[in-house]
Amino acid sequence: MVPVNYYIVLSAILFSIGVVGVLVRRNALIIFMSVELMLNAANLAFVAFSSVIKSFSGQIFVFFVIAVAAAEVAVGLALIVEIFKSKRSIDVDQMSSLKG
């Protein structure tokens, strides 16, 4: 059986890739994918710990996260479509009209 540490390290790597993607990319779709990557890194950690402590609660949590992520994708994609309609671009740096 693969030790749990491997899963945690993998999860951390995936999460970090997601964070870097959100911070450095300007394409809204890519940022969106990076966010999904972070969510699934968390899911992986949940499932790993769930099997270690022999409890289903972690797995149940994952189901919630997947459901919420699906809803988030629906809302997020709708927003991106609307932004594209008004700005003809999905570059997030152009959406800075709330600057102080």
């Binding site: 964070v19 959100v22 911070l23 940022i31 997030v92 740096d93 959406m95 709330l98 102080g100």
Partner: protein, 714 residues
């Protein structure tokens, strides 16, 4: 404290309705008075008072079948503080039922009389809308009087005591914007205020007596106070009884507080009869009788009370001789007769005092109401004569506006005073029924056999002759004057020739006025049987014995009775010699003035007591008030303290400490500086808000890293 004993037989449960029946009557008139006819208003009020009378009769019957057992009927809890337990309890015993019978019985007759009297009075004074108000006040008075006589503690009695004082005030000032002649003036309302304020002085004495009682005995309830008084120091009882005497002097118009009662005649005549002759003013006599067990403990107090009453009786009787106003004569007569009662209860002759209270209620109410009938007859005659006069000289239009003119004070001729006996004369012929009724009242008051006044007065005189010779002589002389001034009144009002056109045209009063008078006249004739001085006829004595325990039943003393009868007859003869033989003519000086110049002038001017009080009390009081208002309040507090000290200091401080320099350089600089700092700080903070989502995300990441790092490394 024991609660009301349970009584199986009798009508004691009706006791609260003594108060509620008149209250119901007054509420009906208060709510529907504007829509009811005058007859309906009067009927409702009379029925309410009549119901109280019926209840009084039933209660008296219940007391007699229970052999005088004191029944205390608790209606409601009133004040419960610590050990003080005060309840609204009705005390039904032979003494209180006697008072209830007098108040509601005479009261009901006066209600009926007032239906007719006020009908004309409101028309003479041009304000028909005030009819209902009069009966509301009368019913309120009956209710308050019932609280007074049925209360089971001194405090409950005091509630009624103040209540009747209020009703007295309201009714004396019933025509508050007029004077007694119907001209616009504050005379009537001043009379009302005088009555109220003088009574306040008396009430103050009563209150102090009650405070001492509570301080010494811890209770206001009659039985508890009497019980505790048996073991108390005589000094305390003496203080209580003497302070109580001040209250009695106020309410029952004794020296030195009698001055309000003559002025109280400003009220309509039924009020004078009901409140200021028959019932309210006897409350003081009732109070002393109720407190018999306190007074009998201190002979000094008894002596002072008896002397106060006797001196008042004589003093007021001499003033009555010199009065021209028909109601003022009766007012001073009332003070004098109240003096008889107070002297009687002061001597410990409580039965004689109560007996005189009852008979006096009959014949003095009769006299006042007959006087009211005379006044109305004269007013009618005046209108009649005026009308005839006016028709001869002016057109009709002028007359219609005439009364209004008089009310507004524009009357060009002298104002006719229907109360002045100098305007009367010969009314025996024009008002025969009233004449005979007045005669009966006069004979009863003068004490002629066999009228009621004789028996009660002689009982007082007899007691006085046995115990207090000084009081006996004072009262005998007062009785002489009583017969004299009543004789004078009869000769001046009813005999001789009319001295004024109004007297010649006077008309007899309608039956609604004369019938209640006839009932009172019958009572004045036969009232003596209540307590005849013969073996087996001491009815009132036996009746009151239930409450007063020790009652002296005196036999008839022919010497005392004979002397007083001879004195009365002599006085009437003297009055005939002076006033009856040669009739007073219009504009003539009173014949007594020629014979007894100084005495008569003194009596005419009420021995200058009002002037004396004015000089030694009212004027200094007004000056002190003026001083306090002008010098202390206005000049010291307002001008000096507020304006100079406080406002001046404030202005000075603001000028010196808060001048332009300090304001602009100090306070403004602080305020502006705060604003500048805030703006500078915000320009720095504004740079964070750059609008780039990714930089916000970086901030979130850094925050998370910081927090998680802290949690891990902690």
């Amino acid at each position: 404290m024991h609660l009301a004993e349970t009584v199986n037989s009798g009508f004691f449960f009706l006791a609260p309705w003594l108060v509620f029946a008149p209250v119901v009557g007054l509420l009906i008139n208060l709510i529907f008075g504007k829509r009811l006819s005058e007859t309906m208003i009067g009927t409702v009020a009379s029925l309410a008072s009549g119901a109280a009378f019926v209840i009084s009769v039933l209660l008296a019957y219940s007391v007699s079948v229970n052999h005088g057992e004191v029944v205390r009927w608790q209606l409601a809890e009133w004040i419960h503080i610590g050990t003080l337990q005060l309840d609204w309890t009705f005390r039904v015993d032979s003494l209180s039922t006697t008072m209830m019978l007098v108040v509601s019985g005479v009261g009901t007759l006066i209600h009926i009389y007032a239906i007719g009297y006020m009908h004309e009075d409101v028309r003479f004074k041009n304000d028909v809308g005030r009819y209902a108000r009069f009966f509301i006040f009368l019913n309120l008075f009956i209710a308050m009087m019932m609280i007074l006589v049925s209360g089971d503690s001194y405090l409950m009695l005091f509630v009624g005591w103040e209540g009747v004082g209020l009703c007295s005030f309201l009714l004396i000032g019933f025509w508050y914007e007029l004077d007694t002649l119907g001209r616009p003036s504050w005379a009537n309302s001043n009379a009302a205020k005088k009555a109220f304020i003088v009574n306040r002085i008396g009430d103050f004495g009563f209150l102090i007596a009650a405070f001492i009682m509570f301080w010494a005995f811890g209770s206001f309830q009659f039985d508890e106070v009497f019980e505790a008084a048996q073991h108390a120091a005589p000094g305390i009882i003496l203080a209580i009884t003497l302070f109580m005497l001040i209250g009695v002097a106020g309410k029952s118009a004794q020296i030195p507080l009698y001055v309000w009662l003559p002025d109280a005649m400003a009220g309509p005549t039924p009020v004078s009869a009901l409140i200021h002759a028959a019932t309210m003013v006897t409350a003081g006599v009732y109070l002393i009788t109720r407190s018999a067990e306190l007074y009998t403990l201190v002979p000094q107090a008894q002596y002072i009370v008896a002397l106060t009453g006797a001196v008042t009786a004589l003093f007021a009787a001499t003033i009555a001789v010199g009065q021209y106003d028909i109601k003022k004569v009766l007012a001073y007569s009332t003070i004098s007769q109240l003096g008889f009662m107070v002297a009687a209860v002061g001597m410990g002759a409580f039965v004689a005092g109560m007996f005189h209270l009852v008979t006096h209620a009959f014949f003095k109410a009769l006299l006042f109401l007959s006087a009211g009938s005379v006044i109305l007859g004269l007013e009618r005659g005046h209108h009649h004569a005026e009308h005839a006069h006016a028709q001869a000289h002016h057109n009709n239009k002028h007359i219609k506006g005439k009364r209004k003119e008089e009310r507004q004070g524009n009357a060009h001729e002298e104002v006719f005073d229907p109360n002045d006996m100098r305007n009367m004369g010969g009314m025996r012929k024009t008002m025969p029924v009233t004449f005979w009724l007045y005669m009966i009242g006069t004979l009863a008051l003068a004490g002629i056999v066999p009228f009621a006044g004789l028996w009660s007065k002689d009982e007082i005189l007899l007691d006085a002759s046995l115990h207090y010779p000084i009081v006996y002589w004072l009262l005998s002389i007062a009785a002489f004057f009583t017969a004299f001034y009543m004789g004078r009144q009869i000769w001046m009002v009813f005999f001789g020739e009319p001295r004024h056109a109004a007297a010649a045209h006077a008309e007899e009063s309608p039956r609604v006025i004369t019938v209640p008078l006839m009932v009172l006249a019958v009572l004045s004739v036969i009232g003596g049987v209540l307590n005849l001085p013969f073996q087996g006829f001491h009815n009132l004595g036996h009746w009151l014995e239930y409450t007063l325990h020790e009652v002296e039943a005196l036999p008839l003393n022919l010497g005392v009775a004979g002397i007083s009868t001879v004195l009365a007859l002599l006085a009437i003869a003297a009055s005939w010699y002076i006033y009856g033989r040669n009739q007073l003519r219009a504009g003539e000086v009173d014949p007594l003035k020629q014979r007894l110049g100084a005495f008569f002038t003194g009596a005419e001017n009420k021995w200058y007591v009002d002037e004396l009080y004015h000089a030694i009390i009212v004027t200094p009081f007004a000056k002190i008030s003026q001083f306090l208002a002008d010098v202390i309040d206005w000049r010291f507090w307002h001008d000096w303290f507020h304006e100079t000290v406080i406002a001046g200091t404030y202005n000075w401080v603001s000028n010196i400490a808060l001048n332009r320099y300090a304001d602009q350089r100090g306070i403004d600089a602080v305020a502006n500086g705060l604003g500048d700092v805030t703006q500078w700080f915000s320009t720095i903070l504004r740079k964070v808000q750059n609008g780039f989502v990714r930089s916000y995300a970086l901030s979130v990441l850094l925050g998370v890293v910081l927090i998680v790092g802290y949690l891990i490394l902690k």
